[in-house]
Amino acid sequence: MELNLTKAKEFYYQMLLIRRFEEKCIELYSKQKIGGFLHLYIGEEAIAVGVMNALSEDDAVLATYREHGQALARGISAKSIMAELFGKMEGCSRGRGGSMHLFDAKTRFYGGSAIVAGALPLAVGMALADKMQNKNRVTVCIFGDGAVAEGEFHESLNLAALWKLPILFVCENNRYAMGTALKLTESETEIYKKAASYKIHSKQVDGMSVIDVAKASKRAVEDIRENGEPIFLECLTYRFRAHSMFDAELYREKAEVKEWKEKGPLVVFEEKLKEMGLWSEIDVQEIENEIASVIDEAVEFAENGTLEPIKDLEKFVYSEVNHG
């Protein structure tokens, strides 16, 4: 993958969009425009942007409750995500899902799962279905370091390897599961090594570098498309904000957070672009302006959205056309 100016702008735009979008979310959350849980992706933007860059339209994505970034990078509009956070019918999940359950059939975005490791088995099944139907598609499954301890991680990795399924597993290792540090949860803290124990081709990547993630993802997706076998990427990253909006952050030092912020994805990308002589070509203010208007529009769209009529509360418990 070569990083030309267009790509550079695109990456920068996307990462900044995620950042600004979420900053707006914080504001709206404190104004109680947004309810429920809100898990921010700030600090981890490079991963979503780098991974999504490698996919084609027809590939599928499964993520966690911390999925605003992936959803935006995958191309779900800020409008429909914001409307979702407002609980409006125009939201990508009709207001039924909220922050933790963004869904979008058009971009094949299968959630937004709030049970840690709960989407891994689904990814196995999606990829199995592709394989059975001879569809040359990739299923990407993104999860945190906390998921690694769950039984479903183990069962799913084994199945993916055993059945040779076209899955890209992406572990966002931000070193904490809520307040519990990785070293308190895993006897082997090198997560990519755990994945390798299933005979899955597995690699550790600097998750703060969008270029590194993009490269590794592109390579991985190409390999998967060619061989049909799973690949595992461990992306080393850090969450700049609290786990959710209810978190006193007792479990980590301010200094540690500060240190990581200094090597945040926007910072290192800027440095890299400077090195490459591309930075001067990028009009950050223009990008900021563009993003600001996208976000303003999204908020307006969400504000003006409609509440689903209460009479439809029971709609979609079952499918509308029932041949049963």
């Binding site: 799962s113 689904l122 196995v124 999606m126 199995l128 979609f316 049963g324």
Partner: protein, 327 residues
Amino acid sequence: MDNIITYREAVRESIRKAMQEDERVFLMGEDVGHYGGCFAVSKGLLDEFTDKRIIDTPLSESAFTGAGIGAAMNGMRPIVEIMTVNFSLLALDQIMNNAATLLYMSGGQFNVPLVIRMATGGGKQLGAQHSHSLEGWFAHIPGLKVLTPATVQDAYDMLTLALADPDPVLIFENSLLYNSKGSLDTKVTPLAIGKAQVYKEGKDITILTYGINLFKVLEAVESLEKEGIAVEVIDLRSLRPLDDETIMKSIKKTHKVIIVDEGWKSGSISAEIMARINEQAFYELDTPMARVCTVEVPLPFAKHLEDEALPHAKKIVDVVKKVMGVS
């Protein structure tokens, strides 16, 4: 065209027909292939359909059930066999938090046309971890449908109906029924999901039941009829949705009801049925409703204890007589 076959064969034929007619259908579970199915249901299918479509899974209930959900969302029509309901506890997160919620959470975008079959029931001296009857318990979960075929015809039909359904359907096959025989008509239009069946008409009292207990009830009825008690027997067939209409209609006729189910008594499906009858037909009742359920114990191994723990014909007779006020 009728023919007499076993319940096991009926399930197998139904799977076979579905797999022949629809290439999206496949069967996946522990030992469904090389072993031939724990209860020999899928015997022969591996040869016919190859391991591409008859898939032996590792012991990973959560992952392969979840994989069934994923495959269902992605164009296939999986039949997941969880060997017995006892192991479904390991897959409950996938069933309740994914299969049952995805359509709703996604605002109608992703439906899950998944069929999960499991063997259920006690009565074989398999002890506390292998004798659960949880179909009524699963029926608590919105988003799922829960079917309990008792007859050979239903063993065949219900799988067909379930595969045609756009949403997740759980089918509970009592493993003691696999050897039972009955007639199968493959040309008849199956009775829809959610419909109960009046198995036998009668005017004095209604017995509601499902699955294997239908036969225990029929055994009881035989001796009750000798004493001049005309029992209406209803096979519920589907525990979610329940067929309130058929139930209430019968109550309006007999004004007395007992429910026989193999769940533990507290919180059994019979409790829900009682609640509904109370809500919908209270003034039709002549006497309190009664129920025959499993005694609230982890099922014991010793045969005499297990027999006593489960519903049986004599208990049913006794309870009917008590409700009828005769002895």
